[in-house]
Symmetry: C2
Subunit: 246 residues, 2 copies
Amino acid sequence: MSDPKLPPKDVEKYASEFLASNLKWAQRMNQAFPQYFPNSSAKQEPKILWVGCSDSRVQESDATTSLPGNVFVHRNIANQFHLDDDNALSVLAYALAELGAQHVVIVGHRHCGGAISAMNEAARAPEPGKAKLQLTPSYSPLGRNVLHSSHITDKQDETPRDPKEALSRWLVPLVGHIRQLALPKQEEVALDVIIEENVKVQVNNLTKLDSFIKKSAKARPVWVHGWVYDFSTGFVKDLEITQVLG
Amino acid sequence: MSDPKLPPKDVEKYASEFLASNLKWAQRMNQAFPQYFPNSSAKQEPKILWVGCSDSRVQESDATTSLPGNVFVHRNIANQFHLDDDNALSVLAYALAELGAQHVVIVGHRHCGGAISAMNEAARAPEPGKAKLQLTPSYSPLGRNVLHSSHITDKQDETPRDPKEALSRWLVPLVGHIRQLALPKQEEVALDVIIEENVKVQVNNLTKLDSFIKKSAKARPVWVHGWVYDFSTGFVKDLEITQVLG
């Protein structure tokens, strides 16, 4: 890859540079190591579901030296697993019920920007009016499901939600949790505590899905782990909070 | 990594095998190539936001030969970008407004299990009663936002949604779109069409966020691309449907 700090005039080419890199890589791999690529007629059998952060410095295939087919992946801001989030829940359903995965790993990481945002927000005095606004999408006081069920339509709402408001809402549970913590004064130490606490909360969220896991895992146990990755060293830390469900 | 088809008794060890692989890799890299790891005091400056599928056979860092710091990532079932999904919207907001990314790539892939599920569902006759059930979380006819705004609480709902119902709801927009398509009879060809159409729909969804993009990108353009990856060959196909927003 070229230098990440290119002059602005080259920004337009970023995507085509990735395409050019892909072409070279795929050609080389097909010559040197074609068996690297999974057979399209075989079913995937991932060993773990990785629920991690979107952060560009956390590459799960690096951190686990994993081959294609090993790790099923969901990545979002600050590795959240909200129990009312169809996006993450559907990934879990697919991994466990369709593919038979038996390990779920919540992976936080040090220096997480989402956790920093939540820490800063938690440091402000809570404003009930503002919180209410954040929790309610701006286009409607009722939100997605009411619109759907009243219209009985397969179409999505035409008016999109505001992405910045979505980000605020997304971090609300984490902000709330941070406000309950007795944190060390030094900011970097406090951030590490928040990052580990955040992983624990998501692992705990998954334990509330025990009855679903019992049904879908068909008498096989499912292990839920909490890890923290440090992208500046490459090491994964196991928080040793593994829960056995199912 | 060890053989993916281990006898069942070894399943418990899967996660610890990943941890052991990580330890070896991180030790080796710190000795041989420590500059591989990003400096924790520098801000990430990803060049692209990759919105792709959770499929374990699609490793975006492989496909783009990318280094840590290059690609901000959101992965979910069948690479969807729903305009009422706080999870994906918050990733977009973070990538564009906080990190200044100017390329968003929706990446479908051939042999997508989520697309196959949607294709099979679309082949069934629509049942309005069933669709209504799918669109409404089982614990409440009103859903998340109403509960939140009426209680004005920072806590999440205690009763989790059913993950399998979440998966059905997640695929409803795609199922609806497939029903509108005139598809070739041969199933594998039809699936390829669906996968490309699905990418086009998500790119089109992003164009509806033009006013947000204008605000957050501060007069810089944002390019939205549609690609399809073939994990059995490693090649990315550019659908050449790039939109310039902002």
